[in-house]
């Protein structure tokens, strides 16, 4: 089996590369680093320094290493939609879109055309194969580092050609293994934040350089009373609390809605910032075969299907019922959740096997 291992220059993918090299033999394994971002970046996974780390780890492991320039596709499929989303009052998750369109689409296609059977990545998630040969996507062994949320859009086609070699390990074990092998990335800090946004400019600076930002008004979500100015409506996210002040009774205020064209941000008390349900589009299922858990989404049309919803990368899973309709899904929470900003992804897990991803969707 020939394996293309995606090496970001971080410790997880370094160890993933070491593990597949050991398992399949180094002549069966080639490392690849994606150059995704043409601009400057310091917090991400494709700076020159990161490429160098990936290359030097590959050298150490005796692997051939390539750099693939996917910057144009990254701009089209990740960065531009991220900017457009903010311009329209949505908050897309760029990591998920990168996984959807780059790592588990462009890269899988590139790997296949180059004659590789699978792509291995350093994600903390687990792939399982059922007795019937169907693929399951499960949470990584380390609950604090689990990345199944950002992979929840994967389906059978992608999982059939993907390996997650570090999914069974905790982060501490990954670092121990890297140290044992003497890999230069053993103590490298985890990547943070959005990879194409520099820490010194931040989200405000980045979006400000790409978008005309508009001042707007804060209003009460019920009465419509004016509550003051806001510097840039494009930078406000539904559910946000920071910078929104307090109401006259001293309670914190939350963003309940962002209307960019009207330059208006609605604020409400905590209970208004929570919702009983969220509606999803761009719905995906890990497995929609007839007798598979995701296949039960057929059940979601009637009485609904039980699911555990997770609304952010490290959000608390919440027991839910899912109904499907022509537009997508409605996820009803057992207890109200902080409002999900439009554009954010909700991952659904199996209530009977809470480690197992059923599917995903993007909040309207």
């Amino acid at each position: 089996m020939r394996v293309l291992v995606a090496m970001s220059g971080g410790v997880d993918s370094s160890v993933a590369a070491a593990l597949v090299a050991e398992q399949f033999g180094r002549h069966q394994v080639v490392g690849a680093t994606l150059k995704l971002w043409g601009g400057s970046s310091d917090s991400g996974c494709c700076s020159i320094g990161d490429v160098e780390d990936a290359r030097r780890v590959a050298d150490q492991l005796g692997l051939v290493h390539h750099v693939f320039n996917f910057a144009a596709a990254f701009e089209d499929r990740v960065v531009a939609p991220y900017v457009r989303g903010h311009a329209e009052g949505r908050t897309p998750n760029p990591c998920i879109e990168c996984n959807r369109h780059l790592k588990f689409d462009r890269l899988l296609v590139r790997a296949r055309t180059l004659g590789f059977d699978v792509v291995a990545t350093g994600h903390h998630a687990r792939r399982r194969v059922t007795a019937k040969g169907r693929f399951r996507l499960c949470r990584g062994a380390d609950p604090l580092k689990d990345q199944s949320y950002v992979l929840a859009m994967l389906g059978q086609d992608q999982l059939a050609r993907t390996l997650f070699p570090v999914g069974e390990m905790t982060k501490a074990q990954v670092r121990e293994e890297a140290a044992r092998l003497g890999l230069r990335t053993a103590t490298k800090p985890d990547s943070q934040d959005v990879c194409f946004i520099r820490s010194d400019e931040g989200r405000v600076g980045f979006l400000g350089s790409r978008l005309p930002l508009h001042a707007g008004r804060l209003v009460d979500h019920e009465s419509g009373d004016d509550l003051g100015p806001v510097e840039a409506v494009e930078l406000v996210t539904v559910g946000q609390r920071r910078g929104m002040g307090h109401s006259s009774d001293g309670r914190r205020r939350f963003v309940t809605a962002v209307d960019v064209p009207a330059r208006r941000v609605s604020l409400g008390p905590p209970e208004a910032a929570h919702a009983d349900e969220v509606r999803l589009h761009t719905v995906t299922w890990v497995d929609n075969g007839p007798d598979m858990p995701g296949g039960n989404h057929g059940n979601a049309s009637g009485a609904g299907m039980g699911a555990i919803a997770q609304c952010s990368a490290h959000g608390q899973p919440v027991s839910s019922v899912v109904h499907s309709d022509a537009d997508g899904l409605t996820v009803s929470f057992s207890t109200p959740q902080r409002r999900i900003a439009p554009g954010q992804t909700v991952a659904l897990y199996d209530p009977d096997h809470p480690e197992t991803v059923l599917g995903s969707g993007i909040a309207w």
Partner: protein
């Protein structure tokens, strides 16, 4: 079998060059700027090399400025040449360059324009890979201080009409200095004749059998340049720093070997290149040659293969034993989208489908046979 078809990126060193430099890496270690026997020995070597190089580049020895390579020579020409003109003008003169210049020129022009507020006009090329002379004439207004047009394009190998370029520049931009990046020209063209119309000429040793890390800028009288690197005042105050004696000696040896073998090399490599090009255009459906072959150097073949990404093809060919290149390599090893193909009006997908085969003096008929055998299979696999 390993088939190296990336000579435009770098070429193996000529044995003459290796032999010439070795003594200067051991016993003859002197600093040419001193005043004792070791220094005299080293200075003599640099002076000899300078005369030899000047002769073969059609220049006077005093016009040759040694640099650390082609990129430094281009930087020195663009910045130093422009600054010398700007020093005589009340406001920053404009810059003109072809849009297909190597990044060593293009990015230098852009940085200089950004820093000084000088206008920069980038001139498109035609589908034939030749700079558009009408567009050049439009750009060459009286305010221009420096024009840069490469002698041979590095990606597609087209030879630019330097005489016509020079006559446009001289007739329209009277104060402009004309620079040409001749890095890709030296292996294939008579460097003196092909660069004669230019005031500044950049060359790089490792493209013609010399070592990496050494090059030269010809600064033709009466053109002057301002230095970029200050210090001991070497190279007549135009480029300070202790001479790379071994590199300079080896560059002279490589240039001399290239020059004497050139007629034979060009004849032989042209036949090999034509066989490779004609063969691939026949055996690879949907392949198109970029630029007109009659305008190209002997060593260059650039194809666009419909529906195939050059970046992926390079990887497969590498596994099949053939070293090629797609676009310009950036520092990370990724392939940059080709600004050269864009300058010819090709769209992004078409530009991404490009692959360059660049032959050299050591390319053999067997190498071409091997490439002809493996390229169609690699293309088929990518289209599968």
């Amino acid at each position: 079998m390993r088939v190296y078809l990336d000579h435009a990126a770098t070429a193996p060193m000529a044995p003459e060059a290796v032999e010439a430099m070795l003594p200067y890496l051991s016993g003859r270690f002197g600093n040419p700027s001193g005043s004792h026997r070791e220094s005299r020995q080293a200075r003599r070597a640099v002076d000899d090399a300078r005369e030899q190089i000047a002769l073969l580049l059609g220049a006077d020895p005093s016009e040759v400025v040694f640099t650390s390579g082609g990129t430094e020579a281009d930087n020195l020409a663009v910045v130093g040449g422009w600054e010398a003109v700007a020093a005589t003008r009340p406001s920053p003169p404009a810059l003109v360059c072809s849009a297909m210049e190597h990044h060593a020129v293009l990015h230098t022009c852009r940085a200089l324009a950004r820093r000084t507020g000088a206008a920069l006009r980038e001139v498109r090329s035609g589908k034939d890979g030749i700079v558009d002379l009408e567009a050049l004439a439009e750009a060459c207004m009286p305010d221009v201080g420096l024009v840069s047009v490469m002698t041979v394009n590095n990606e597609i190998g087209t030879v630019q009409p330097m005489d016509a370029v020079a006559s446009v520049v001289r007739s329209r931009s009277s104060m402009a200095v004309l620079h040409t990046d001749a890095v890709q020209a030296v292996p294939w063209l008579d460097a003196g004749a092909s660069t004669a119309p230019a005031d500044l000429v950049a060359v790089s040793a490792h493209k013609f059998g010399g070592p990496k890390g050494v090059g030269a800028l010809v600064v033709r009288h009466p053109t002057t340049i301002h230095p970029l690197i200050h210090g001991g005042g070497q190279e007549r105050e135009r480029r300070s720093g202790t001479h790379n004696v071994a590199g300079i000696v080896a560059m002279a040896a490589a240039l001399s070997a290239t020059h004497s073998a050139r007629p034979d090399t060009v004849r032989r490599v042209t036949a090999l290149r034509d066989r490779l090009g004609d063969g691939l255009l026949t055996s690879v459906a949907g392949s198109t040659e970029t630029g007109a072959r009659e305008h190209k150097t002997a060593g260059h073949l650039h194809l666009r293969v419909a529906g195939v990404e050059g970046e992926a093809l390079v990887v497969l060919l590498d596994e099949a034993g053939v070293s090629t290149s797609a676009g310009a390599a950036c520092s990370s090893g990724a392939v940059e989208a080709s600004h050269v193909l864009a300058s010819m009006g090709l769209g992004p997908d078409e530009a991404a489908s490009g692959i360059r085969f660049s032959l050299g003096p050591s390319t053999t008929g067997e190498h071409i046979d091997h490439a002809l055998a493996v390229v169609p299979d690699a293309v088929a696999q990518l289209r599968d």
